[in-house]
Amino acid sequence: MVEQTGTDLAGLRRSPLAHLAETLEQVSAGSDSVTVREIPFLNMVGIRVDPDSAVASTLAGITGVGWPSAHGEVTGAVGDSAVLWLSPDEFLLVTEDAVELPPGLDGSPDGALPTISTHPLTVRLVAAMADSGQPGQVVDLSANRTTLEISGPHARDVLEKGCPMDLHPRAFPVNTAVSTTLGPVQVMLWRTHEDTWRLMPRSSFAHFVAQWLLDAMTEFTATPVS
């Protein structure tokens, strides 16, 4: 069994919305004003730390991204490394997917216990947190949420059907991210470009959120009655 898991971890993964990928693609293809897709397996790291502490500087040195200082702020860049503000002492680092077998899972003799993360950056951050001896927390949360990307000139209209936040650009400019609700579901909502938004629901809510979006998109995707 060990041999099987040790070869291709990435290939064994199945994203929370894999079963809807085809549906999302078909519906999106039928609209020129709003599209939706899953961006699976983004690396997400939950970091709880006092942003003024020494260990916070150490961690920022590893991520290469400073800490956002207020509600809604995002530092870094989408598609690279970005840090989202969750609360005054809680942050979410989002980076691209990468899978590297840690010592202990790769068959090498070193490493007594395998780390619980397979992302090299996360492994370095966890180690730096542990070595610091300071209060704080670095946890691989990649499987906690998946990411839905909704884009197009009507994307905001769709989100406004179920989100209590003011999503107008004057209140919610590009590169703002907040924790809020869509319908009854708690999500992270991140405006990555003028007409492009990322929704990050917890994995077990992803199917509901996707179906909610498909329903809310109907007026922009359905074939008009002639």
Partner: protein
Amino acid sequence: MLLIECPYCGPRDETEYHYGGEAHVPYPEDPAALTDRQWGEYLFYRRNTKGLLAERWVHTAGCRKWFNVVRDTATYKVQSVYRLTDPRPSTGGAL
């Protein structure tokens, strides 16, 4: 719908919060020394104020922080919002 201003996130709809009951109910210094009646009163007895009441709220769908709100229980008007580390605001002796 109440619009409550989280001290960390700003104004959000009531649906993003959960209510935590009356604030400033001190935990007994020596719980084991309490009689059953005293323990029961600590757990369950509240002022049930009509008017200004200091109460706890948590921003469940946002920053997940607890904070205090002074709210009029008759009109629902929120008078002030303050962090757990902030001093209790004066309410003219109404609390």
